[in-house]
Symmetry: C2
Subunit: 288 residues, 2 copies
Amino acid sequence: MKDDGSADIVLLVEHCRSLLDLGCSSVLLLGTTGEANSFTNAERRAILEGVLAGGIAAEKLIVGTGCSAIGDTVGLSKHALSLGVTRVLVLPPFYYKLVSDEGLFGAFAATVEQINDDRLQMLLYLIPQLTGIELHADLVEKIFLAYPKNVVGLKDSSGNWPATQTLCRRLGDKIDVLVGTEALLLRAMQAGASGCISATANATAQPIIELFIKRDRREAATLEEGVLATRAAFESFPVIPALKAYLARKTGQKSWRNVRPPLCALTQNQTEALIASLVKAPQRQEAS
Amino acid sequence: MKDDGSADIVLLVEHCRSLLDLGCSSVLLLGTTGEANSFTNAERRAILEGVLAGGIAAEKLIVGTGCSAIGDTVGLSKHALSLGVTRVLVLPPFYYKLVSDEGLFGAFAATVEQINDDRLQMLLYLIPQLTGIELHADLVEKIFLAYPKNVVGLKDSSGNWPATQTLCRRLGDKIDVLVGTEALLLRAMQAGASGCISATANATAQPIIELFIKRDRREAATLEEGVLATRAAFESFPVIPALKAYLARKTGQKSWRNVRPPLCALTQNQTEALIASLVKAPQRQEAS
């Protein structure tokens, strides 16, 4: 964000390009790390339009379109589709808690049916620590079976390995199960996952890609050790501001530090401590 | 909602009028029971405009304008002010969890400053069981002290009596502390609260008003017993659909039954069980 809080599209486009150049297969735009739910619908549309106008190919993007109101999720998804972006990552409506599986199924069904577009490639976004909502394997499977052409995957950020393992085993051959952290990448891929979508990949894409490529070789264990240490260094701070502080340092672009309330930017002292702990991590991230 | 999911403004206006006619001092439009966060911003604006066009006075309304994006909260609040509705109930941004008090203060500060209107009368909405966010008395006081002309009250739906009592005692003489349930009305008013904003008041306004009026008399204990029993009857079902099922039965208007996903309407059997339990409650609601 610029100092006035508006999205810095130039920096964002540069960042997307650098991730793709490093070998990321896609960029997830407007997810949790992108603070999507701190932006209005109009801002979210403008960000996507800006990234496309900046030359990032639509087929390289997945766009987070989940909102608490299904009507907004539908609107943002239709907007993405109108621009050729077919893959959208959708949160369950996340205001109400203790809702039934029937209600959650109804929410995703309404979303797919109101989007009403054969091109739609929807990924479900499981992040119960923020939504307060669990999407169990039974429910995910029910949604997939109801809309097999439009539900193509999920991002599981639960960090709950037994639940993740169940999702990988039950659904990994039907849809793309993507784990939300590289810390589970090896285990998850052995269980049937397709890869990961990771916040820390914004800072450490290269070693994660290397881990992905060499996952079946003996050296994977050593690579994983380094990746875990780096992730742990970020996780010892509020992760989203920490990633942005790191990118500010790496690129020399101060805009990277800015976050929107209720998040707070890392202090100078926190930033120094973060950078120091990253240097100590056995696998140094690509740009330190 | 009509069967197509759109707001039934005619029913809503009738309902607002009936609550005011019964003696409610205000109607909170577009709160949790009103499923505000299941409606798009455009729908929320249209609902407020419709209620005003239906003849409900702006000064009788409090409007829920809280969204996960501060920009949306600001936009809806400015819209309400432009129509003469000065009292808005504002949730903290509710996507991120484990956020700092500094970040939450920043969020409310940004909201007040971006609304930037002397007429603003903001009430903070404490409902941690849905937002996952606690607003402690220290933080509420800090927000009030920073914006004493614009922060005029709070709705505390936590149901956490020790925390509520602290809010009443510390802030009850500075701002309107309104409890989210009539079950705490007597205790809270003795501790300094101004009243309550209650979901169940949609069905049981009359006995709650009687309890409010007679709160210092001996008969208050008996009145409270009846009010608690009726509330307990609703709370033995998902409360929002239960209230709407009750209103459908009471008014004969089927639209009342409809809710938006992820909520589910009460089944016929549930509705019969609800009505039966309400008839058994010692203090029968006004219209059964």
